[in-house]
Symmetry: C2
Subunit: 613 residues, 2 copies
């Protein structure tokens, strides 16, 4: 029944050999891996304006130089990542690159930063997508959180189904968004250049701060959210068709070009139209002003909402993958490593959904409140990744390593500077949370690693006789057998039959007398059966059944670790669910309790009513 539901929701399970086939063509990969980066066009310009407006309407014109600066940064980072893909065709995420070249600690900082940022990508993208919907239909504004959580659920489900289907679902909307944005920018610029106007609401813009360098840098830092997701392609090289590296590099170039055009284009248009941020998104204002509130307007809003939801999908590809890498290295619980039913890392998907859902609820689905937490993590991983690449080229000296190292060096320095700018200017607005969280995560990773290492060490076979190449002569355990007796019935007969298959040093049966007078009756009955197994009756004046058994078994002397006590637990397995409910759970709790006692082996001998065996 549960597996039927699983199949209905998730589709048929995928065979291991379908793994290689789960690869994406370049256009589909562009859609899957770039939706995060491309969709930031929906809020990046607005975030710049939101900071600048503090210095009054006149300050908004500074947005364009800031956007151009971010555009240049984008070119530097994309070029730098092209080098990474070349060197790491197996998938060059910041975690792997930093760990291999800068050491484990740098890798863990990069990994922790990325995990945090993936969660934020989901939360920010979904809340911005919800804002696109509520901008188009202001009546829905009070359902913000409901809409956001519904979108999150759809995303989680589609990802549990697996990556190829995700690609198919996501390709259409991404290209549709790019297409609609192109129309908006071209039509809008044409209007402006031909002397037309783009009518936008005249929100008040009181001057509350001076236009200081700090404010400009803070606006720049906010705009840098446009850069999040640029690393996605480098992390996911293995999802491309062969030749993976070449396809990934090509796709990265395409993505950077499209993003540059849309982001700078939107900012030019916003500056020309004198848009001021308000409850309605900047993009919605621009679209209404350019197209009027007609079909084209609604199409753009729909495309924006769609790509933003899909942007979260980048994290659904990367978060579980990174979690699985880190779990494989023993830095996260092993449960995150398991590949699920549909070749996806189900536990990672569930974890991501849970944390992002909690964030959405905590921040009431408000994009502007989430933004200050964002980008710190991504620029940390950018910096570590590029710095790692510099070391990589230095060590490997492959042909052309000079140029590659110079490119990555420029990337590392630039992103490091930007990281400092972001951390300082957004610190009080929320970045402090991430700056504290990442080191805490690193400590957590190392703690987990130490626990696994300790357990592994203690389970390892170390003595000469039991070396890894020859297990040697393994002696059987000395075995004292304890048979738990309740009623003399078929299940007991079966347990005795099993007891007779054991080579035991000694054997006894025990019976717990709960009422103070049933022990004698049982002893008589037992003796009449002439089983040759001595019966011990244990008094239980406090009417407990489990505790006297535990006390009795733990008091049995064991000369050394090679002396075991096998407790035979006769059980009866009800045939139906109703009988199961009517059956008390004493056996289960006896097993759970005995499981903790040193030297005890539990032989669970069920008598199944359905099969009489």
């Amino acid at each position: 029944m549960p597996s039927r539901i699983k199949q209905l929701l998730l589709g048929d399970p995928l065979h291991n050999r379908e793994s290689a086939h789960q690869r994406l063509s370049n256009p589909v990969a562009l859609a899957v891996f770039s939706s995060d980066a491309l969709s930031s066009v929906a809020y990046a310009t607005e975030e710049i304006l939101l900071v600048l407006i503090l210095a009054g309407a006149a300050a908004l014109s500074v947005a364009l130089p800031i956007a151009i600066a971010i555009g240049l940064l984008l070119i530097i980072v994309a070029t730098s990542y092209r080098q990474t893909i070349k060197a790491y065709p197996g998938g060059g995420g910041a975690y792997i690159v930093a760990k291999e070249n800068l050491g484990v600690n740098a890798g863990l900082v990069a990994g922790g930063s990325l995990l945090v940022d993936y969660v934020l990508t989901v939360a920010v993208s979904i809340s911005a997508g919800t804002a696109a919907i509520t901008s188009a239909f202001p009546a829905l504004e009070r359902y913000t959180i409901v809409i956001a959580l519904a979108l999150l659920t759809v995303l989680a489900m589609s990802n549990l189904r697996g990556v190829r289907e995700s690609g198919a679902v996501f390709a259409g909307p991404t290209f549709f968004f790019v297409f609609m944005m192109a129309i908006l920018i071209v039509v809008g610029l044409f209007k402006v250049l031909t002397g037309g106007t783009i009518a936008v609401p005249a929100h008040p813009a009181p001057v509350t701060q001076a236009l200081t360098l700090f404010l400009i840098l803070r606006a720049f830092a906010s705009g840098c959210t446009a850069m999040t997701g640029v690393e996605a392609i480098a992390n996911g090289v293995q999802a491309f068709k062969q030749p993976e590296a070449r396809n990934a590099r090509l796709t990265l170039t395409w993505m950077a070009g499209i993003l540059l055009f849309m982001f700078v284009g939107t900012t030019v248009l916003a500056t020309a139209a004198h848009v001021r941020p308000g409850a309605e998104t900047v993009l919605s204002q621009l679209a209404r002003g350019t197209f009027g509130t007609g079909v084209l307007y609604y199409l753009l809003q729909a495309a924006t909402a769609a790509i933003l939801v899909l942007a979260a999908n980048t994290s659904y590809a990367d978060f579980p993958r990174l979690g699985s890498f880190m779990a494989g290295d023993g830095f996260l619980p092993k449960q995150l490593r398991d590949t699920g039913y549909r070749l996806v890392h189900s536990n990672g998907i569930v974890l991501l959904t849970t944390v992002a859902g909690a964030l959405l609820m905590a921040f009431q689905g408000d994009t502007n409140r989430l933004i200050p937490l964002y980008a710190v993590g991504v620029f940390t991983s950018f910096t570590l990744s590029q710095a790692g690449m510099v070391v990589h080229w230095w060590k490997n000296r492959e042909p052309g390593w000079h140029v590659s190292m110079a490119v990555n060096g420029a990337g590392a320095v630039t992103t490091a500077v930007v990281l400092v700018v972001i951390a300082v200017t957004k610190f009080l607005h929320g970045a402090w949370l991430v700056i504290i969280l990442v080191p805490v995560l690193v400590i957590y990773f190392k703690f987990i690693h130490a626990r696994y290492a300790a357990v592994f060490e203690r389970l390892r076979i170390t003595s000469g006789a039991l070396s890894a190449t020859a297990c040697g002569e393994i002696e059987p355990l000395h075995n004292h057998v304890v048979l738990l007796v309740g009623t003399i019935d078929k299940r007991m007969i079966r347990a005795i039959q099993y007891a007779k298959t054991l080579k035991a040093d000694s054997m006894e049966a025990i019976y717990v007398d709960l009422t103070g007078d049933s022990g004698e009756a049982m002893r008589d009955k037992w003796e009449r059966c002439e089983l040759g197994i001595p019966l011990t009756v244990i008094d239980s004046p406090y009417r407990e059944i489990i505790e006297p058994i535990r006390a009795y078994v733990s008091a049995i002397p064991r000369p050394d670790v090679d002396h075991a006590i096998t407790v035979i637990v006769p059980e009866f397995v009800p045939e139906t669910y109703v009988d199961y409910m009517l059956h008390d759970k004493t056996s289960f709790w006896i097993k759970q309790t005995l499981f903790r006692l040193p030297g005890v082996i539990i032989a669970d001998v069920p008598f199944r009513l359905g099969s009489e065996s």
Copy 2:
């Protein structure tokens, strides 16, 4: 840790031999078993007035004859129950009396009716107790449900501690209530007889119905709630000190006398004072009018609230006891039969608390809405119990059986007539729910009984060789041993040591290859160990571990039921809670899954890090 908390809340566990000492002296027994009956004085008069007021203020004078009729009924029923105690010194609850004399079905109807009424006693008494508090302090009215649930919790806890402490807690308030009521009635009547007046609020009393016979009967039926709890002493004879029967009969007579005095006295006073029911309880109005809102008034309200909460305690003594009887007979789940840590039936107490709490929440703690459901069950059990006694005397013909049979016969006829009156007049107001519920419960009891009987029959040893007196020669099982292999480490060595203690027909090891390429490596390693156990590698293209094991094991041929498959599950037991969390739960699920397969025996071989064994 949990057992420390248990001890703190519940006290030390009680030894079986303390059972006989847990008996109550007559005054304490009066307090424990009569609080239900006595406390109904707090609402019975009010319930009569609430019906009569529909016919206007003049109709209220009919309350006195109704109260006298109920008083006569009380004398008949109490006399009748004295006969029951004589015949059933071991405890003559309606369930036992009806089952023994009228057959199982009558017993189950009586049992079901009583269980329903015990739950209602808790709900009604607690809501009426809360009303006494909110009448004294009207500002607390909006916390009605909170107060009610808090009282319920206190009750449940004190009962989980055990019956004697309950007696000690409850004796004081019960006698205090009787004392305060005596002062109220004496002072009030003195005031009225000496020409004084008892000032009460003049609530409007519009005439909405004619004073028909039906309305009078309905008022009578509502007043019959005063009778609930009269059976408690007869059910609990065993809680009295020796000689139990004599003590119980004496206590019953005392209780009936006190109840009669208080109930009729209150009704006389209410009629004389022309009290009309309102938001404030009738008793509170009478006390304010008689004493003024001073110390005596607050003392009476406190005593009323206290005895009402304690009234619920009667059910806490009887519900779990009846549940335990019925579970012992196989009509309720066996879990209700277990006597807990403090010699009380803990599961019954928890069940009663849960259902009563749900009722309180559903009815928002409103006594007047709960009353129509009440008393149907109790009069059903009265009738069946007395009728059963008639049959008992007829069959046994003990000395004086003629008189006893006549008394019980009168009781049976009277209560049967009253039952019809209650069922008819309160039907639409809620009694229908109980009239439907009791047969449903009876079907449920029979269903459970049938399930237990079926299981018992199938587990019973029937063949000649395995008769109850001699188990005969039991042959060992034929055993095919399957060793689950994961990693070759210390836990595996231990599992192999255990495997060597088994007399197996055949033995094999199985390894599940999750990745498609780890099987060969394991096979090499395994062969180098030269264990003499053949290894089977199972492919798992869908990366599942449990399902391939299940499929493999269930496909192993078994010629007959005496061929078993022992699956050895090597486990590792983490030493700390943290390691436990990091450890995946695969072994547990493997065991749960294999537990359902016919013929499979599970040998759980743990390697405990703490003890190396």
